[in-house]
Amino acid sequence: MLQGALAGLAAGGLYAVLAVCLTLMSRLVRVVNFAQAATGMVGSYLAVWLVVHTGLPEWAATLGGILLGAGLSAGLGWIVCTWLAETDTGTRSAVTAAVLLLLISLSFILFGNKPQPFRPVLAGPAFQVGGVVVSQVTVATVGLAVLVALACRLLLGRTAVGVRLRALSERPTTAELLGIPAKPLSIAVWAGTGLVATLAISVVAPSQSNDPTSLAMLVVPASAAALLGGFRRLDLAVGGGLVLGVVEGAVAQSDHLSLVRYFLPLLFIVALLLWSQRKEVWDAAR
């Protein structure tokens, strides 16, 4: 059980990183980005393709993949900022659902629908606790999740850019009237989350089921985790991701519960929604 739980921690770290990205996107650019994991998937696949077909060194290929992930996300951000600047979160998010479809299909065409021959960036155990092995990947993803969350917190809280981003998310029109350029800043947020998501997926993809659909659908547990923080709080998003990973890992140990495992993120989401929406609220806008 403990071994399973710890094994789940690597996945949990990945959920946490993606949840942080989703939270940032929702807070700063008012969108639930269903294509968040899919952009990372395409970026990490490109890295594999580069290694296999051009013989580029591992690190350079990974870097290329990460840049592609960031670029894809920035491009999507540009579309949303240009044509959907004044629309509600629902419509903006619906666009990302269409992009999710597009990216999965594109990767079927470009890379096939089978798992990719990833060569692990990290492999092997990092250390042992009481006879249970903790892998390097686990340490890396959990570390990355905490690091990204802390860095975002510092960026938003302490820097001039962060303050501007917060101003923009709170009152976009007022911020623009004060000379804060909404579009470049928003696109930067898209690019940044694309970069981080691709990085995280590149680290974890070699050690888990990495066909396009599985990777793209990582957005489901990630949004479950982000929902714990109400798509606002980074610390709860990280916590939610880690807990979800650990519980999944533990449940996976039991054969009777294997089906339950698939439904864990959904149950998590439903429970959180029921709790957070228990009071009737009237949306001023609608």
């Binding site: 303050v163 917060r166 101003a167 709170e170 623009e176 009237l177 804060i180 909404a182």
Partner: protein, 232 residues
């Protein structure tokens, strides 16, 4: 010296025009009071000047520069600032963070804080926790810190006790005296006309009267017609 000129501006919102063929000019050092009943289109006019609403026809110029097709940010960079209705503070940001959005230097922050000593004490608290009057001070200070040549102020008094509002008016006057051109929309008509040099009366989206503010103050008949309807 540059002026801001609004030439025959028409603004459409929803079905029809809410502003029709409005022209006015803002001159540095002078306050223009824009008065008229609720729903006359004052807010829409301000929003059209600053770029919140698109202009259907007509133009807005600062000196030789045509702002009509410029973005909100572009207009801000030309020296235009717009204080929106309803105390638009960033509630999640502290007072200081609000001010630093527009102030370039620490000195500028100190300068505007000197105008509102009340704020200095609350510099590090989130703006959402301030009283209505203090929030309006943050909004004013934030606009002043950008040192705009042209300032549009929409219903500064909304939801504020009159006492608080009278505390703010002299600061606006002084800012104009230092060289800014101000367009002031205000429901406390007489107070606004009291500090203004020029007056523009709008009713149902059109300018119905334009002239020196003291004259309008002296002849209430014009105002009564605009506010209380023709049958008066």
């Amino acid at each position: 010296m540059n002026t801001l000129r609004v030439n025959g501006v028409t603004v459409a919102r929803g079905a029809g025009p809410v502003i029709r063929d409005v022209s006015l000019e803002l001159v540095p050092g002078r306050i223009t009071a824009l008065v008229g009943p609720n729903g006359a289109g004052k807010t829409s006019l301000l929003e059209a000047i600053s770029g919140v609403l698109p202009i259907a026809s007509g133009s807005v110029h600062i000196g030789p520069h045509d702002l009509t097709r410029q973005s909100r940010v572009g207009r801000f960079r030309r020296g235009l600032a717009h204080i929106e209705q309803g105390r638009a503070v960033f509630g999640g940001l502290t007072v200081l963070e609000n001010l630093r959005l527009t102030a370039r230097t620490g000195e500028q922050v100190d300068q505007v804080l000197a105008l509102f000593p009340e704020l200095a004490k609350r510099a590090d608290s989130p703006a959402a926790l301030l009283s209505g009057g203090e929030q309006q001070m943050v909004v004013l200070a934030r606009a002043f810190a950008a040192n705009p040549a042209f300032l549009l102020i929409d219903e500064m008094s909304l939801g504020l006790a009159p006492v608080v509002f009278t505390r703010l008016l002299p600061v606006v006057s002084r800012f104009a005296a230092e060289g800014a051109a101000i367009l002031l929309v205000e429901q406390f008509t007489h107070l606004a006309l009291g500090i203004a040099q020029d007056a523009v009366v709008v009713s149902s989206g059109r300018v119905t009267h334009q002239g020196p503010a003291p004259d309008l103050l002296a002849s209430p008949a014009t105002l009564h017609t605009a506010y209380l309807g023709e049958s008066r």
